[in-house]
Symmetry: C2
Subunit: 301 residues, 2 copies
């Protein structure tokens, strides 16, 4: 019988849940709020919050009134100073794990480490992290090469959504050329756990549907890793689903896996699950909440 | 034509040269000196120094008179305190690279790191290093396993003669379970450089003769690594050489490689080179100094 399973630990992580809650509380209290950039990397959630008065602006100079919500990725030190200079009320929804990476960066900078950030240089989390470092800093974007110079003291700090394999690669390159290598493993456990649950499911399925923003780093990483194991589709919303994707799995009565990135709301996962149910021939067997979707316990299906 | 080559960077390292020089200067000044344990791991050098009044004792309580030489491996904090309490004159010949590892250990201990020493728990260098750490410390002897607990702050310090591959293994095990991993790469460059020069020569030869104390860690490591590439004999002195080892290489007019550990004096290398010369049929072509032995420049022979 055809089977549809949801990977354990899919969807919102602690930091995202906290940021959404803070945004909802703020909009309830003030009737409005502004975020710099979308609060999370999920357009549907941003749209939902905009209906209760939370608007996202790209340019900090567009912000003229309180309250301002700092999103889970954090903001640059320069932008924080601008907000403070404007005497705006600030609600800091920076993920506590991201904030911890900032603290490590500031302390390593004070102690004169050459700092290497393992992450995507264009990601807001990394731009915000880098802005807190005043001396030697470089960003290493999981390529195979590093300049072969001799370092005395190197500190490595990771984007919270990085893959541990990339951290292994980077430390292997640095160990032979560094007297003291200080690795702050700021990779978030939620990311690791979500990845391993998703990969366990991917190995057991004929088709994986990865749900999450097309600009979400951790979702892109999930889609990349799953695609190395099975046929994989990365979508943001139910309307992107194409019926033909399911022809083969229906014919062989196989298994479909679902997983979702850290910034994917439950209602989107539920909507997609129910749409797939209808496509594969169970239109009257809808789930009412995400908790009703069968999960995958890593035992043979 | 049969060829005999000496690996570059063979023999005494900086720390050993310094310890020997300090022992010779001390014996010249006082006419006598005592070391705790042999000053270096080379019985022939220990014997040579004993002829100018430098004697080695195993038990610190046997020492009653000045001067006392601390050998290149260092001594434990407890033994240092005993010597100081006896008001003996101390000549500290601890290798500066070993002393630097002590400083790292003391500072990591003060900062409450869980300390993991990569090294041989029975080696005097490691016993001395461990004695400077008062809190959490464990010694990891290049086995494949580490206890899977979650660490907040771990510092790794290496025996100076360790292999970088073991350091890679250890950090790979620690990275996923450690929030902050601080690696002090105290592996001595001299060891790395000697190893890679010796391995380059081993790949080009039919027989490697590795010269050095049978209790010398770095010589044992050289012999182990060379034996993975070619037929290898580990000897301490010329009298251990057996003619039959050379039958095959003489017959095929092949190449013999020589290398020596960090505590092997030049005169022993020279004696062995000349003895091999005689065995392979060049009894009138002796070298007068180690500088006359052809070295290997990593070009095809």
């Amino acid at each position: 019988m055809l089977d549809i399973r949801l990977a354990k630990n899919s969807g919102f992580c602690f930091g995202v849940k906290r940021a959404i809650r803070l945004a909802e509380e703020t909009s309830e209290k003030y009737g409005k709020a502004t975020t710099i950039g979308p609060i999370i990397h999920n357009p549907q959630m941003v749209e939902k919050l905009s209906r209760v008065g939370v608007k996202a602006v790209d340019d900090i100079y567009q912000i003229t009134e309180s309250p301002v919500i700092i999103r889970s990725h954090g903001i640059t030190q320069e932008n924080l100073t601008i907000l403070k200079d404007k005497n705006l009320e600030i609600v800091d929804a920076t993920c506590p794990y991201v904030a911890r990476a900032h603290e490590y960066a500031i302390s390593a900078d004070e102690e004169n480490y050459h700092i290497i950030i393992l992450g995507n240089p264009t990601h807001p989390e990394i731009i915000a992290l880098k802005s807190r470092i005043h001396s030697n800093v470089q960003i290493w974007d999981s390529i195979e090469y590093i300049e072969k110079k001799e370092y005395t003291k190197v500190a490595v700090i990771c984007q919270t959504t990085q893959n541990i394999e990339n951290l292994h690669k980077l430390t292997s390159l640095l160990l032979p050329i560094t007297k003291e290598l200080r690795v702050f493993n700021t990779i978030c456990d939620a990311t690791n756990i979500r990845q391993s649950s998703s990969l366990a499911l991917a190995t057991a399925t004929d088709l994986m549907i990865v749900i999450g923003g097309k600009n979400s780093s951790n979702t892109l990483m999930l889609a990349k890793l799953c695609s190395e194991l099975t046929t994989t589709k990365h979508i943001e919303a139910a309307n992107e689903i194409s019926k033909v994707w399911f022809d083969e799995v229906i014919q062989k009565k196989g298994c479909i896996g679902l997983t979702a990135g850290a910034s994917t709301p439950d209602w989107i996962i539920l909507e997609i699950y129910n749409k797939i149910k209808a496509i594969v021939g169970y239109p009257n067997d809808f789930a009412q909440s995400i908790d009703e979707i069968p999960s995958y316990n890593e035992e043979p299906l």
